[in-house]
C-alpha cells in the first residue's frame, strides 16, 4: 500500500510538470494532475486484486477520460487540457526501454515478451479512451437533442 501511495503522489507531480511544459495554466493544471493520480490509483488497486494488465490499464484510461470530460464541462475548457497531461503516466515508457535492454543483453525471448506487453498496454489505453469518449459523444448528443426539442415547444 505504501508503494501505491508514493506512486500516486509522484504521478501527480510528474503530470503537473508536464502541464507546465504544455502551457496548461492555473487551476487546470492542478486538477488535471489529480486526474492522473486517480487513474494510477485505479490501475494499482485493480492490479493488486489480480486483474490483468489489459483490464487494469483500460479501467485507468477510462477513469482519466471520464474525469477529463466531466471537468471540462465544469470548467468550460477543452477536454484536452486535462486529458493530455493525465494520460502521461500511463504511457508505457518503461516497456520501450526494457525491450531494447533485453535485446542488447541478447535475451530475445524476453525482449519480444516485453515488446508485446508494451503493445497490449497501448491498446488497453486506446480502448479505455475510445469507449468513454464514444459514450460521452452519445450522451451529449441526446442531451443536446432534448434541449433543442425543449426550445421548439
Amino acid at each position: 500500500m505504501n508503494y501505491i501511495a508514493i506512486q500516486v503522489i509522484s504521478a501527480i507531480f510528474a503530470t503537473y510538470g508536464f502541464g507546465i511544459i504544455f502551457n496548461v495554466r492555473g487551476g487546470k493544471n492542478l486538477f488535471g494532475s489529480f486526474g492522473a493520480g486517480i487513474g494510477w490509483l485505479v490501475y494499482s488497486l485493480l492490479n493488486e486484486k489480480g486483474f490483468t494488465y489489459f483490464i487494469s490499464y483500460t479501467a485507468a484510461a477510462a477513469t482519466i477520460t471520464i474525469y477529463s470530460e466531466l471537468l471540462s464541462r465544469k470548467m468550460k475548457v477543452p477536454t484536452v487540457a486535462f486529458l493530455y497531461p493525465g494520460m502521461i503516466p500511463l504511457v508505457p515508457g518503461g516497456g520501450i526501454y526494457y525491450t531494447m535492454y533485453y535485446i542488447v543483453q541478447d535475451n530475445i525471448s524476453q525482449a519480444v515478451g516485453k515488446g508485446i506487453e508494451t503493445f497490449i498496454i497501448s491498446g488497453s489505453i486506446a480502448i479505455g479512451i475510445l469507449s468513454v469518449s464514444t459514450f460521452s459523444q452519445i450522451f451529449y448528443h441526446i442531451v443536446k437533442k432534448k434541449e433543442y426539442d425543449d426550445k421548439k415547444y
Binding site: 508514493i6 507546465i20 502551457n23 484536452v80 500511463l90 504511457v91 515508457g93
Partner: protein
C-alpha cells in the same frame, strides 16, 4: 501571418476566410485535434453567414467557402511547426464561443494577441522537465538518488530540445538522439556513483520524450472519424517510440561493447 488590410471598412468573403483559416492554423500548431480546427473554422464562417467546408490533416488545413453570386473562395494553410500549447487552444476555443461579443476587427485583434502571446518557453520547459523526471523516478520505485540522476537527464534533454529547435532537426533523428542522451546521461551518473542501477533514471528521462500526446490525439481523431489524421498521428507515435528505442538501444550496446557494466 501577415496583418490584414488596416484600412478595412467592409467585411468581405476573403477577409472572413483568411480570419477563419488563421484560427484553424493556430489550433493545429498548438497541438489541437483536427476536428477541433475544422469545427472552429466552420463556426466562424457560419457566424458571418457563409457556408464553408474545411479539411484538416496534421500538416495543413484547406478551407473553401461559398460566397455571394455563386463565387467560391479557397485557402490552404501549411503547418510547419507543431508544439503543445493547451492555453492557446483554451483561449481560442473560448474566443470562438463568444464570437458574438466582438466586431470583426476586435475579433481579429484578439486572435493576433493570442498568437503573439510569448512566455519564456525554455525556462518553463526546463522546470517542467525536471519536475516531471524527478517525480517519475519515485513513480518507478526509485530512490532519491535515482531522482537526482533523472533530473540531470532532464537537464540534458532540455538542452537538446533547445538547440534542436534552432537547428530545425527532423523529428525522428531528434528522438533517436534523445534516446541516446537518456541512456548516456544515466550511465554517466552510474559511473559517478550517484546511482547503482541505470534503469530507473533512463526510464524516468525517457518518459519526457515518449509520445503520449501524439498517441492520445491519434485515438481522439479516430473517434471523431478523421481516419487520415488519426492514422497519421498513430504512425507518428510509433515512429517516435521506435526512434527512442533504437537510440537508447544503440547507447546500451556501445556501453556493453566497451566493457561497461549494465
Amino acid at each position: 501571418m501577415d496583418k490584414l488590410n488596416d484600412n478595412l471598412t467592409a467585411v468581405n468573403e476573403n477577409d472572413i476566410l483568411y480570419l477563419a483559416s488563421y484560427v484553424g492554423k493556430l489550433i493545429l500548431e498548438s497541438g489541437g485535434e483536427t476536428y477541433r480546427a475544422e469545427d472552429m473554422v466552420d463556426k466562424i464562417c457560419s457566424y458571418y453567414g457563409l457556408q464553408s467546408n474545411s479539411f484538416a490533416v496534421l500538416s495543413s488545413i484547406l478551407t473553401t467557402i461559398r460566397g455571394k453570386e455563386r463565387r467560391f473562395f479557397t485557402n490552404i494553410e501549411k503547418i510547419r511547426m507543431r508544439t503543445i500549447n493547451v492555453e492557446k487552444i483554451t483561449r481560442l476555443s473560448k474566443l470562438v464561443r463568444d464570437i458574438d461579443k466582438y466586431t470583426f476587427k476586435e475579433f481579429l485583434s484578439q486572435i493576433q494577441e493570442i498568437d503573439e502571446q510569448k512566455t519564456n518557453r525554455f525556462m518553463y520547459t526546463l522546470i517542467g522537465n525536471c519536475l516531471a523526471a524527478g517525480a517519475f523516478a519515485f513513480y518507478f520505485n526509485g530512490s532519491y538518488r535515482d531522482c537526482i540522476a533523472s533530473i540531470i537527464g532532464a537537464l540534458s534533454i532540455s538542452m537538446l530540445g533547445y538547440y534542436s529547435a534552432k537547428l530545425q532537426i527532423n523529428n525522428f533523428f531528434l528522438n533517436l538522439v534523445g534516446g541516446m542522451v537518456c541512456s548516456l546521461s544515466a550511465y554517466i551518473c552510474f559511473k559517478w556513483g550517484i546511482i547503482f542501477n541505470i534503469s530507473v533514471s533512463v526510464i524516468s528521462t525517457l518518459m519526457l520524450l515518449v509520445p503520449g500526446i501524439a498517441f492520445t490525439n491519434s485515438i481522439r481523431d479516430l473517434i471523431a472519424g478523421d481516419l487520415v489524421s488519426g492514422i497519421a498521428r498513430g504512425v507518428e507515435a510509433f515512429m517516435i517510440g521506435t526512434a527512442l528505442a533504437i537510440g537508447s538501444g544503440i547507447t546500451l550496446s556501445i556501453i556493453k561493447t566497451l566493457g561497461g557494466f549494465l
